[in-house]
Symmetry: C2
Subunit: 113 residues, 2 copies
């Protein structure tokens, strides 16, 4: 795993196919063959994406030599969630202001009735 | 801006210096010169990082021809936050289970007193 786990997680997620693979794994573990089907990709191409996810700690693979099913590891996602925390106020404050403005408009409309 | 804004945002954030620049901008807008100081980087190197953040929609730059101050744009971060939503239960459920286990242990300890 990379020394900078947050950077590795962000880099791994910067690809729509890898995000789609994670979305699929949210419904349960899957082998490379099972992952390849809905994506119309070769198992070889899927394997490469899974390897990137695994190197970033976003996926672990089972020991079953035949299937080696992939499973999500939540930790790097929780790290990103924690990193986002200090930025969250940027859009939450904006939503609060929008709410306040809507409430004012409603008050004005009610007042003019 | 990239057609796949989520991928562009993840790629831009996959660099610790660019995340540090965003952290700095959370305290208010700053020119490239102001950004370069704490990072002990050349303004040229900072400019390149800011350009990547700008291309990903994470930063806008002011029109002031001299300073062109950078400012955070929250939208791509809010998009990442929304994308994380379906995964959040993975670690929240885990925390719930941990909480339940701790509560059980506490009950057992209280029971054995």
């Amino acid at each position: 795993m990379s020394r900078d786990t947050l950077s590795a997680a962000f880099a791994a997620l910067a690809d729509p196919t890898r995000r789609a693979i994670l979305d699929r794994l949210l419904r349960g573990e899957a082998s490379v063959t099972e992952l390849a089907e809905p994506f119309a990709m070769t198992p070889r191409a899927v394997s490469k994406h899974v390897a990137v996810l695994e190197a970033a700690g976003l996926v672990t693979r089972g020991r079953d030599a035949q299937r080696r099913p992939s499973r999500i590891r939540a930790e790097p996602l929780a790290d990103i969630d924690a990193w986002l925390r200090s930025y969250r106020r940027l859009w939450e404050e904006r939503f609060d202001r929008l709410d306040a403005r809507l409430a004012e408009q409603q008050d004005e409309e009610n007042g003019s009735k």
